[in-house]
């Protein structure tokens, strides 16, 4: 569209952000990227008992061009990683990635030659969901948190400011191995 890129920051841009965010989160279509056991739990969340249709997400779009949310459900092997990247590249902006399960988040129990240790080596991830496999309720919780992110996503001039702020914070944080003594 580009309209939101041109608006100056202020109340008008905020209203446009809210409207766009509401529209985006209400019918975020997931792309089918079910790989292993987590895929079955993802299908179970789309089924009758843990209904994803109440969030507008029951249409799992096979074509990545029509999808908004890629739920990487399952272990990503070295052979599958280029395919994952290609599907991610084929999705149109705005897109979100949910790493479902420990195998997608960090390699899980498979710390070996065959599994990519976390899909964030391949695609940028917005939400990590641990579990082996995570229960459908946990998946819905993660999806709702992504909906929050989508709802509050900043556009245009606000987005640029936010990026600068995030970068300043990131430059100051200690790497994980050095953040000793902190429980949170």
């Amino acid at each position: 569209m580009g309209l939101e890129e041109k608006l100056p920051s202020g109340v008008l841009l905020t209203s446009v952000e809210k409207l766009a965010g509401y529209a985006r989160k209400s019918s975020m279509w997931p792309a089918t990227f079910g790989l292993a056991c987590c895929a079955i739990e993802m299908m179970a969340s789309g089924a009758g008992r843990y209904d994803l249709a109440r969030f507008g997400m029951e249409v799992f779009r096979a074509s990545p061009r029509q999808a908004d949310l890629m739920i990487v459900a399952g272990r990503v092997s070295q052979k599958m990683a280029p395919v994952l990247r290609q599907i991610y590249d084929q999705m149109a902006e705005p897109k979100w990635v949910l790493a479902m399960g420990v195998c997608a988040s960090s390699g899980g129990m498979f710390n070996n030659y065959a599994i990519v240790q976390g899909v964030d080596h391949v695609v940028p991830v917005d939400m990590y969901l641990p579990g082996c496999p995570p229960r459908p309720e946990m998946l819905i919780d993660a999806i709702l948190k992504i909906h929050d992110q989508a709802m509050n996503k900043k556009l245009g001039a606000h987005a640029k400011k936010e990026i600068i702020q995030k970068e300043e914070v990131a430059l100051k944080t200690l790497p994980l191995i050095e953040s000793t003594g902190l429980l949170r």
Binding site: F33, A36, C37, E41, G48, S77, V83, M109, Y113, R135
Partner: protein
């Protein structure tokens, strides 16, 4: 010709080959009219209808498949090598994730092989064996439900999908009650099962079985004589007995040719010789026959579950030998599921041996005498065999699973070639491969 470096054309012994990447159809059509165009199409690893991360490389002429090949390995996890660095009981948690729709079968095959090497096959308590049988048959029902649900979804029958998953939730509730998890339970351990059935489980299972019988009848009536379903599955994906024998196919695909080969009857394990059930066969050797077999097998499994419930007698669920038996007696406490207070009182206050056993078993694990063993179970997809090699230590030397889906997928070429692309989808759905088991 196109100057795009991604879509070139080059000459081969078979004629000119064009690499098409979109938007350049005109250059391809420049060929002689009337010449049939052969295309190599990738039904890639990410596809809604290929039952998981299966890559089908199809050479098609129009809509007819000339050659079909499978590309697998997109889910290869290195489970077998990873198990060589974990002890024998931890192997259960790895093995359970191979064929993720039938975790109990994977665990049972592995534990039967390990128990063979330990030499304690006769000392497994009867209650443990009965619980294993019950959980296996419930797993068979839930696996067939997913097979029918995803098969239906791939062919467009979406109600089959929602119904199948709805009924599967009932079984997952039982799994959760008994083992704590819905999937990938790591419940069957070498020597028995991890913990006993909680109070109230037997009644719940009986009620669920009754409810399932009714639901299965309803689900069946959606598809069984449905004209569209018949058109899509009758005569599709045929593989006769010779083909099955040559390709080493077992399971519902073999039984659809008329041969009643079921390991539970022919080479019984876990006491299956004492249960009354029929081996379901059809003689049409096509997708519809396999669908009917799966539907009826679910009913037979529910019969076995009821017989197992009747057979349950109070007793231990772990082998007596304290040097092998998994020490935990779990109970639900204030902070979740953990070692029961009685067990802690026992090991900390009363018995030094119990403390030593608990410590050694959890940190080091038991040692399995050196040797090689193979144990096969009849999983919903065919013969699931666990090969285990031990070098006398606390970690497996080599574990290999002869997974039925890996073997059965070789039949895709035989089933698909000469047919149409849509029929290939039905044929693959009738083979019911689970890519976790194929790639391990």
């Amino acid at each position: 010709m196109s100057t795009d470096m991604f879509s070139q054309s080059f000459d081969t012994t078979e004629g000119k080959v064009y690499n098409v990447s979109g938007g350049d159809w005109e250059t391809v059509q420049g060929g002689t009219p009337g010449e049939t165009s052969r295309m190599v199409i990738n039904m890639g690893p990410q596809h809604p209808s290929t039952h998981g991360v299966l890559r089908l490389i199809l050479e098609v002429e129009g809509e007819t498949i000339i050659q079909a090949r499978c590309g697998i390995g997109y889910l290869h996890t290195g489970i077998e090598k990873n198990m060589e660095y974990r002890n024998w009981v931890q192997g259960t948690t790895y093995v359970t994730r191979m064929d993720y729709l039938t975790p109990i079968f994977n665990e049972t095959a592995y534990c039967l092989a390990v128990e063979k090497l330990l030499g304690i096959t006769d000392q497994i308590p009867e209650r443990a064996t009965t619980i294993r049988v019950m959980m296996m048959e419930l797993n068979r029902v839930s696996s067939h439900l997913v097979a029918l649900a995803t098969g239906g979804m791939e062919l467009g029958a979406l109600t089959a999908m929602t119904n199948g998953f709805r009924d599967r939730e009932l079984i997952l509730d039982i799994f959760e009650m008994v083992s704590g998890l819905r999937m990938n339970m790591a419940y069957v351990r070498p020597g028995g099962v991890a913990q006993d059935l909680p109070p109230g489980a037997e009644q719940k299972i009986r009620d669920t079985v009754q409810l399932l019988r009714k639901r299965l009848k309803d689900n069946k009536s959606i598809l069984v004589d449905n004209p569209i379903w018949l058109l899509r599955t009758k005569g599709i994906g045929e593989l006769d007995l010779t083909g099955c024998m040559a390709l080493g196919i077992t399971g519902p695909v073999l039984r659809s040719t008329g041969l009643p080969w079921d390991l539970r009857k022919t080479q019984p394990y876990c006491g299956y010789e004492n249960y009354e059930f029929d081996v379901v066969t059809e003689n049409t050797a096509d997708t519809y026959g396999r669908f009917l077999i799966r539907v009826e097998e679910m009913n037979q499994s529910l019969n076995i579950v009821e017989q197992a419930l009747d057979r349950l007698k109070p007793g231990p669920v772990m082998v007596e030998d304290k040097k092998i038996a998994w020490p935990s007696q779990l109970a639900l406490g204030g902070d979740g599921l953990g070692n029961s207070l009685e067990h802690i009182r026992n090991i900390m206050g009363t018995s030094m041996e119990a403390l030593i056993h608990h410590f050694k078993l959890v940190t080091e694990g038991f040692q399995v005498p050196a040797g090689q063993a193979y144990a096969a179970v009849e999983s919903p997809r065919g013969e699931l065999g666990a090969f285990v090699i031990s070098d006398g230590g606390t970690k497996p030397y080599r574990v290999h699973f002869r997974d039925p889906s890996f073997n059965n997928l070789q039949a895709v070429s035989a089933m698909g070639e000469g047919g149409q692309v849509a029929d290939l989808v039905a044929a693959v759905a009738s083979l019911d491969p689970v890519m976790g088991g194929v790639d391990r």
